[in-house]
Amino acid sequence: MSSSGKQSELDIGWLEGCVREYKLEMKNLVQITLIGLAVLGARADEVVVKEIIPSKAESTWLEIDWKTDLWEARKEAARTGKPIYLWEMDGHPLGCV
């Protein structure tokens, strides 16, 4: 900048200011993009988590009050006057859906 306040061909101070602003904007843009990608990534993760976890429709059989202790079931059957239904499998049956 010249003493008159006008920009001269040799004075590049104004250009440095532009570059600084440009850098700042680019930095913001990169940050916004990274945040956006992180959000998109998190949403993609949520979608795949939903695919992996059993859906409500797949879990209806878990609405049955399955016990896992035979003696507790025996005591309850005696107390309530009901027969016992035992589902016996190699590998716990409730480990499959």
């Binding site: 988590v49 695919e51 059989w61 896992t68 079931a73 239904y85 480990g95 859906v97």
Partner: protein
């Protein structure tokens, strides 16, 4: 499972029976009062003298067998249930309501329970495939399209150490916990019981947590002949408050290949598999089922051995 999704089967079970599900590997081996009671029931069924005792049994608190079935279809199961109820109705009252004493000590060789102060993390596993540009569960009619559930058990001291690790800025998750996860929980259990991984099959492994509880890791596990393996990455978050887990979320995505003795029918080649680890409050009985890998308990708690 399809049988238990049947509305009539569900209603009958809810209203007329006390329902229990059990792992035969433990129950047929128990040498205690529970094992004696179970053996009494089994000896009245077609499973007498047979190695496996798998099946569906209906019996009384006194141990009288009323029905047995090992079919998958709902029609035969319903017929068995109705027949058993008819037999039940004909029993004298004293056979239907009896006093049951306490059973005494459990056979610790074949009984597992969560250690005092321990916590449970549910582990869901599902085979995936890429459709429409994203990972999805397999189509309905494909083998192994269901999600499998297992449980990761952690001891109080392990959670305390995790909390300290996060508070100190993070670092590598302990070998004990890492190996427990790798050997017993990064497995394809969607078609049956997979074998445990051996320590020397874990070819590459990293699992770390940062000071904010963010978890990241990579792994490559492969049998010595390379016919079965699993490679992928782990991302997640752990939070520990006052020595207790308040969050334990992992998402594991990778490619699995091959099968073991009881998991035949795997897709050919390296195919996508996903796993979700989620902290459980353990309130439901089904949440407290022991981990599949804890049959040999010392190996589960000390996987480095």
């Amino acid at each position: 499972m399809l049988v238990f999704a049947n509305e009539e089967v569900q209603n009958l079970l809810k209203e007329k029976f006390v329902t229990i599900a059990a792992d035969d590997w433990y129950q047929r081996r128990r040498k205690d009062k529970v094992g004696e009671y179970f053996a009494k029931v089994v000896d009245q069924s077609p499973r007498k003298g047979v190695h496996t005792k798998q099946g569906h049994y209906i019996f009384t608190a006194t141990g009288k067998l009323l029905g047995f079935n090992n079919n998958r279809g709902p029609e035969k199961r319903l017929a068995m249930m109705k027949d058993a109820l008819s037999k039940w109705d004909k029993l004298p009252k004293e056979e239907r309501t009896v006093e049951i004493p306490e059973h005494g000590k459990n056979d610790q060789g074949f009984y597992r329970e969560l250690p005092k102060g321990g916590q449970i993390v549910k582990v869901y596993t599902r085979c995936l495939e890429e459709r429409n540009g994203r990972l999805q569960k397999l189509a309905e009619n494909k083998i192994g399209n269901l999600s499998a559930v297992d449980h990761l058990w952690l001891q109080h001291l392990e959670m305390k150490k995790l909390g300290n690790l996060i508070a100190s800025g993070g670092g590598k998750i302990s070998n004990v916990l890492s190996l427990r996860i790798a050997k017993f929980h990064l497995r394809d259990n969607t078609r049956g019981e997979p074998r445990d991984w051996k320590k020397n099959e874990i070819k590459e492994w990293s699992l770390k947590v940062d000071g904010k509880g963010k978890v990241s890791g990579n792994f490559l596990i492969s049998s010595s002949d390379g016919k079965m393996g699993y490679q992928g990455k782990i991302e997640g978050e752990i939070s520990v408050k006052k020595g207790r887990l308040s969050k334990f979320d992992f998402l594991v995505l990778g490619k699995h290949w091959g099968h073991s003795k009881y998991t035949r029918g795997a897709r050919s080649g390296k195919t996508p598999m996903g796993q979700v680890f989620r902290l459980s409050d353990g309130k439901r009985a089904s949440d407290r089922i022991p981990p599949q890998g804890i049959r040999w308990a010392p190996g589960y708690w000390n996987p480095e051995s």
